[in-house]
Every structure is written in structure tokens, then in C-alpha cells.
């Protein structure tokens, strides 16, 4: 597979005012291929979101580097779209204006923007809501807007930071299926942070298990699709789950306070 993202000895430490030093990323070496769906899995505070934000260019590394298509990541770029856990849909823009915003930043003419935005709103099932204000939509629908905006920008890489974390179980399943559908149609590379093992098993082709700022397990997930919420019951999945849980055991939680 063609290399798309290369991460070399990426480290990130935060020096807190209290004098505490946290090694959020600890010399991570990693490559991600074009078209992969990678889940970064781990407990809270073990570096997966830090890595994602560094990939986005929102969080500078202390040392090491990240290259995307051979180019060093130095800041945010429309080549790497992001979906956040927070509701980031702009409330002062209509649904369609939200989806168009990234295209506007890229300098596309209005007519073309509208056409692309309409196509993606239809793809996420919100065609009828293009002129609605975000306040008129439910949380799940606003997440659909964020997904439509991310795909509409045409970035070859989409970074997702626990995007469905705040949603109810059923809505979350709907959105997982939607995301898989869009991924299979576009083959966009997706790096998806989650702490939910089932979510990772449903979505990922590859799971990277994070602990104490390191990747402690790199697993290819070749469970047959479609996978649903019962995926965890499959024999292969049970084996994967067992490996992952062993990696996440409390006694593997290395003391990260220097």
C-alpha cells in the first residue's frame, strides 16, 4: 500500500505550571497507507487525541516529524479535514453554508460550492435541511453536517476525534454505518480516535492501541463486513478484544509523571 502519512519519532511533552511534565507522545514511529481506516484506541489521556491534533497541525510536536505525502506538517491545512467531538457546526451559518465554508476558504466560486454542498448533504441524508439553522437540528443531525463538511472539502485525509462520543447508542450506530458507507465510496484515508472498543471493531481496518504515549499494539482487523453491533461476539473479535484489553490493563499504565 502507498504510504500517505509517515510519523517519525514523534514526541510531545507538556510542561504544566505545577511542574508536572506529561509525555503525551513518546517517540512514535508509524506509517499509514492511502485509503486505510485506522482507529486509534486507548484510554483517556494516553496520547491518541494528541497525535490526531498533531496530524491536523493543531498541536506542534516537541521533537520528531510528521509527513503527509512527503511534506512536513507545519500547521492546519484543508488537505486534512477534521471532525471534532464537540459540536463545531457554526450556529450562525445555515446547514449549507456550513458545508460550503471549507470550499469558500479554498476559493471555489459560489455556484460550484453550492453544487458540491448539495451533493454531500444528500449523501448524509440532509438534503431537505440545507436552509435550516443548526439550532433546528438534533445533535446527530449536526454531526451529519460536520461529516458532510469534512467530505465536501475533498481532503485526502480525514481526522476524527471521538466524533460520536456524545451521541446516544442508536444514533451512533447510524452514523458509524453512514461513515463506513462514505469511506467505501470515496476511499478517503480516515484516522479515527475512540475509546470504545466496539466502535473500533465495527469501523477499523487497523487498530493502533495507545498506552502512555506509545503505540503498544498494531493490529490489522480483517473481520468480514458488514460488521454490526454483534461483531464483538465473533470468535476472531473475541481474540482481538482479549489482546487489546490485556494491553490496556491498569498494571500496564506506566507512571507518566517524570
Amino acid at each position: 500500500m502507498e504510504k500517505l502519512i509517515e510519523i517519525h519519532k514523534a514526541s510531545c511533552r507538556f510542561d504544566h505550571a505545577s511542574g508536572r511534565v506529561v509525555h503525551a507522545l513518546n517517540e512514535i514511529d508509524l506509517t499509514i497507507g492511502r485509503g486505510e481506516f485506522v482507529c486509534l484506541l486507548g484510554r483517556s489521556g494516553h496520547g491518541k487525541s494528541t497525535l490526531l491534533r498533531s496530524l491536523a497541525g493543531l498541536n506542534p510536536l516537541t521533537s520528531g516529524w510528521i509527513r503527509v505525502e512527503g511534506e512536513l506538517v507545519a500547521g492546519p491545512s484543508s488537505q486534512r479535514g477534521m471532525v471534532f467531538q464537540e459540536d463545531t457546526v457554526f450556529p450562525w451559518m445555515t446547514v449549507r453554508e456550513n458545508v460550503e465554508f471549507g470550499l469558500k476558504c479554498q476559493g471555489l466560486p459560489a455556484a460550484e460550492r453550492t453544487q458540491i454542498a448539495r451533493r454531500w448533504l444528500a449523501a448524509v441524508g440532509l438534503a431537505a435541511f440545507e436552509n435550516s439553522w443548526p439550532k433546528e437540528l438534533s445533535g446527530g443531525m449536526r454531526k451529519r453536517v460536520a461529516i458532510a463538511a469534512a467530505f465536501a472539502g475533498g481532503a485526502p485525509i480525514l481526522l476524527m476525534d471521538e466524533p460520536f462520543g456524545a451521541l446516544d447508542y442508536v444514533t451512533r450506530m447510524d452514523l458509524q454505518n453512514l461513515l463506513l458507507d462514505l469511506w467505501q465510496r470515496t476511499r478517503t484515508t480516515i484516522v479515527f480516535v475512540t475509546h470504545d472498543l466496539e466502535e473500533a471493531l465495527v469501523l477499523a481496518e487497523r487498530i493502533l492501541v495507545f498506552s502512555a504515549g506509545r503505540v503498544v499494539e498494531d493490529m490489522t482487523i480483517d473481520l468480514a463486513r458488514p460488521r454490526n453491533e454483534e461483531v464483538r461476539a465473533r470468535a476472531e473479535a473475541v481474540a482481538i478484544t482479549r489482546t487489546i484489553l490485556r494491553r490496556l490493563e491498569p498494571n500496564n499504565d506506566v507512571l507518566r509523571v517524570a
Binding site: A56, G57, L58, G75, P76, S77, S78, R80, G81, M82, F84, E86, T88, F90, P91, W92, M93, F101, G102, C105, Q106, W133, P134, K135, A149, G153, L159
Partner: protein, 283 residues
């Protein structure tokens, strides 16, 4: 409706009766407008009662309204007590002009300073001490100086109003920008927005609701500052009417001036609220 009934049961008998009645009124098509009018009616009743108990030093509402009607467009009486030609209309127009122009100048300066303070630490280090000093010294103590320097012109009043508006809006604008959810900015950056794009498309609309809060505060106080400026020396203005009729011991005209000003201030506030609803209908 069911909600009201459930609430009515859970509260005291008095509250239950109120809820039942407000429900009945609403069903009968009695809107909030009518309740607002009832509030004004209540005010007039209290006013009349004050007149009844206090006497001639607290003129009755009808006498005040007669006075306004008789002297609204022009007034020989006003000229007789040494005021410039014209009625309440001319004076309230002068005060309104002072308020609107002063507020506009102050708001632009204050918002610009507030945005600069919030977005640049260098700007903040320059502006914040100034704003603190100017904001803590009561602006009214500056008025004698302003009168000495500029005389009874529009300038000292504009400075009073503009200055206060700028100090208020500096604080509101700075806080509004600081309160913008950083996730919006991060998200916009991943979509490829640059510095000015983020300012125009994210910071400005996101801070708008709070700016309107500041504008409303400043507008409310601006009438007071304008009138005080006029009390100290002016040719036209409600403050000038009040000083002139005060020396004539004409309490009815003094109150009439206050009523005319109050009505205009309420209208201005309503227009501002309408403007806010129009510009932030996404909320």
C-alpha cells in the same frame, strides 16, 4: 397547556389561579402586548396616586401630557424663560443626536479596542491599563474640564457619551472574543481558513450577541450622560429644558422633559432589540 395545568396543580392555590387565568387570557387571544399596556397603566395609576398624596410638587400625568402637547413643536413659553426657539421635539432631537453619534463613535472605538485586546497580547498590554484607568475614573468628573476646553457645544457631550460607550464596549467585545469556543477556531483552521477569514467568519459573528448586550448597556446609560452634559451648558437638549424650567420652578415642564426623553429612549431600545433579532436570528 397541559404543562400549565400540571404546574398549576403543583404550586400554591394563588399561583394556580394565576396560571389558570393567564391560560384563559392567552386562549382568548390576549397577547403579551396587552399585558405590557397593563404595566404602563399600572405606572400611570401609581403616578396619579403620588400626585394625590404629594400634591403640586408631583404634577398629575394628564397635566404633564397637556404640557407636552402644548409645547411639542414650538413654544412661546420656552422662549419666554430664555430657551432657544423650538419645542420639546427640537430638544429631544438634539439629545437623541448626541446619544446616537456619541454611541456610534464610542462603540466603534470600543469594539475595535476590545477585539485588539482579545486577539493581540501586545495590543492588550497597551490598551488594558488605559481602559482600567479611564474606566475607573468616573467620567462625570471630566465634564467641568470638557466645558472649559470646548464650551457649551456638542463636543463635550459627545466625549462624555462616546467615552463611556467605548469603555463599556471594550469590556464586552474583549469578553465576547475570549468566550468564542476555541473549537470553532480550530475547526475553521482545519478547513483552510486564514487569519482574516477566521476573524470575519468566526470571531465577528460569534461575538455579535454579546456585543449587542454591550450596546444595550451603553445606550441605556448614554441618555443620562447626554442629559448631564446638557445640564452643564447647552443651547438645546432635554437637559437644557430641565435646567431652564427648574429655575422657573416649573415642575410640570421638568417632568414633561423626562417623559419625552423616556419615550424616545424606550423606542431606541426597541429598535436596537429588533436589530439584534434580525442580525442574530440564528440563535
Amino acid at each position: 397547556m397541559t404543562e400549565a395545568i400540571i404546574n398549576a396543580r403543583s404550586r400554591t392555590p394563588g399561583a394556580a389561579m394565576m396560571a389558570r387565568w393567564s391560560n384563559r387570557l392567552r386562549r382568548a387571544g390576549v397577547g403579551t402586548r396587552l399585558l405590557e399596556l397593563a404595566g404602563i397603566g399600572l405606572l400611570l395609576v401609581i403616578w396619579q396616586l403620588c400626585h394625590y398624596f404629594i400634591g403640586q410638587f408631583f404634577p398629575a400625568p394628564l397635566d404633564v401630557f397637556d404640557n407636552i402637547a402644548a409645547n411639542f413643536w414650538s413654544s412661546r413659553y420656552f422662549e419666554g424663560i430664555g430657551l432657544a426657539p423650538g419645542g420639546y421635539a427640537d430638544h429631544v432631537l438634539a439629545t437623541t443626536t448626541t446619544v446616537l453619534v456619541g454611541l456610534a463613535i464610542g462603540a466603534v472605538a470600543g469594539v475595535a479596542a476590545g477585539y485588539a485586546s482579545a486577539l493581540s497580547s501586545v495590543a492588550d498590554q497597551i490598551i488594558s491599563p488605559l481602559a482600567t484607568i479611564l474606566g475607573t475614573v468616573p467620567i462625570l468628573v471630566a465634564s467641568p474640564f470638557l466645558l472649559i476646553w470646548f464650551g457649551p457645544t456638542l463636543v463635550p457631550k459627545l466625549i462624555l457619551v462616546g467615552f463611556y460607550s467605548a469603555v463599556v464596549l471594550h469590556v464586552y467585545a474583549m469578553r465576547a472574543v475570549q468566550n468564542v469556543n476555541p473549537a470553532y477556531v480550530a475547526y475553521a483552521r482545519t478547513l483552510g481558513a486564514d487569519g482574516f477569514g477566521i476573524f470575519r467568519e468566526i470571531i465577528v459573528p460569534a461575538s455579535l450577541p454579546e456585543l449587542f448586550g454591550g450596546l444595550r448597556t451603553a445606550l441605556g446609560a448614554a441618555w443620562g450622560f447626554a442629559v448631564i452634559g446638557e445640564l452643564l451648558g447647552s443651547e438645546y437638549g432635554v437637559g437644557r429644558v430641565i435646567t431652564a424650567t427648574w429655575s422657573a420652578y416649573d415642575i410640570t415642564s421638568m417632568m414633561a422633559g423626562v417623559v419625552v426623553l423616556g419615550v424616545v429612549a424606550v423606542i431606541a431600545d426597541a429598535i436596537l432589540a429588533g436589530l439584534r433579532r434580525m442580525l442574530t436570528r440564528w440563535r
